[in-house]
């Protein structure tokens, strides 16, 4: 069993990231609804987000929030539903966090730079 302190802090981090995600998801969904009005194409997406610092910052925040929120939840599920040790579930949490960060930032950096190659 993890200490009360660790468990409580993870809970706080998950709630904080949930609050950020709530806002991000609303903006993200709103943007999708707005963007598909004229049909959706890769070129159109790239035109909007490429080189745009504001969109880059927005999605960077989004990715960090996901990278904090989801692995903590997965850890809780693993602790409850499997016999894996605390050490193992902590490790899985950390690896999942890294994967989300790497994949997410690879995607938004790619999109940020994509306009230059169009």
């Amino acid at each position: 069993m993890a200490s009360a302190r660790v468990e409580t802090k993870l809970w706080v981090w998950q709630r904080l990231s949930a609050a950020v995600l709530g806002l991000c998801v609303l903006i993200h969904l709103g943007m999708i609804i707005y963007a598909v009005q004229d049909g959706l194409s890769a070129a159109e997406i790239i035109t909007r987000v490429s080189g745009n610092v504001l969109w880059f910052v927005f999605y960077a925040v989004f990715i960090v929030a996901v990278a904090v929120h989801a692995p903590i939840g997965v850890r809780t599920i693993l602790n409850e539903m499997t016999n894996l040790s605390q050490k193992m579930t902590h490790m899985i949490m950390a690896v999942l966090c890294l994967i989300i960060l790497v994949m997410g930032f690879r995607a938004i950096i790619g999109l940020y730079q994509a306009g230059a190659s169009l």
Partner: protein, 242 residues
């Protein structure tokens, strides 16, 4: 309405089986009346527990047609529309015999959650003056009527899969003391109720709220504990490196 009722009653301990009895129906008959009839007129070896018969002591809780209830406050008419009853011991507790459960773990968890008063004054000190509309007093009052019957504990799915989980009653008790101005034990109490055996294990499914015969909301109390333990953690009060 048939003149009799078919009652399946759990016999044995952890291992056992249901035994069916036929019991005469009476007006305003409670499930406890039915069990008592069986024990006094059909099979005196039937074991069960009760004391007050009027919803004060909380000792007669059993599983009636799949739901945890006080048998003394459950009318047969309300739960046995088709003329059949199934009475089993409470879930999540070790069965001693037939319908009687071992309650030790349930009450031990009240202690583990620091559900005891930590006094801060002596008899020589003046009273604490706490106004009736004081916010913390209201929070404490909302949960204070628990009589420790174990219905919420039996209704809780988290207790079912995590045997270390303190459970709704113990956490509700801790929350009433967190809000007690006269109590000085909150540092140790918040450390005791935090973590994956404490308030953070709760999924807010509210089985406890649904079944509590006193209409209390342990889920609300547990949410309060989550807030207070978070504040304590941020202040570095929970301690314990891991």
């Amino acid at each position: 309405m048939s003149n009799t009722i078919q009652v399946s009653v759990w016999r044995g301990a952890e291992e056992g089986e249901f035994q069916t009895f036929e019991v005469p129906r009476q007006p305003s008959q409670t499930v406890l009346d039915v069990i008592t009839y069986i024990q006094r007129n059909i099979d005196p070896t039937l074991s069960y527990r009760f004391a007050c018969r009027v919803g004060v002591c909380g000792s007669c809780a059993m599983t009636v047609n799949g739901r945890p209830r006080w048998t003394c406050r459950t009318h047969v008419d309300k739960v046995a529309g088709d003329g059949t009853l199934e009475v089993a011991p409470l879930r999540n507790l070790q069965v001693v015999k037939d319908l009687a459960c071992e309650m030790t773990e349930f009450f031990d968890k009240m202690n583990r959650a620091e559900g005891k008063f930590h006094p801060t004054k002596t008899r020589d000190d003046d009273f604490d003056f706490i106004k009736p509309d004081d916010k913390k007093r209201k929070q404490a009052s909302a949960g204070i009527e628990c009589i420790g019957c174990g219905v919420c504990y039996a209704a809780c799915d988290i207790v079912d899969w995590n045997k270390d989980y303190l459970g709704p009653a113990a956490l509700n008790r801790a929350w009433t003391l967190v809000n007690d101005e006269r109590d000085g034990g909150n540092d140790v109490r918040l450390a005791a109720v935090a973590g994956d055996a404490g308030c953070h294990a709760c999924h807010s499914q509210q089985g406890c709220v649904e079944h509590c015969p006193k209409h209390l909301s342990p889920t609300h109390s547990i949410a309060g504990l989550k807030r207070e333990t978070a504040k304590a953690a941020l202040k570095g009060l929970l301690g314990g490196d891991d």
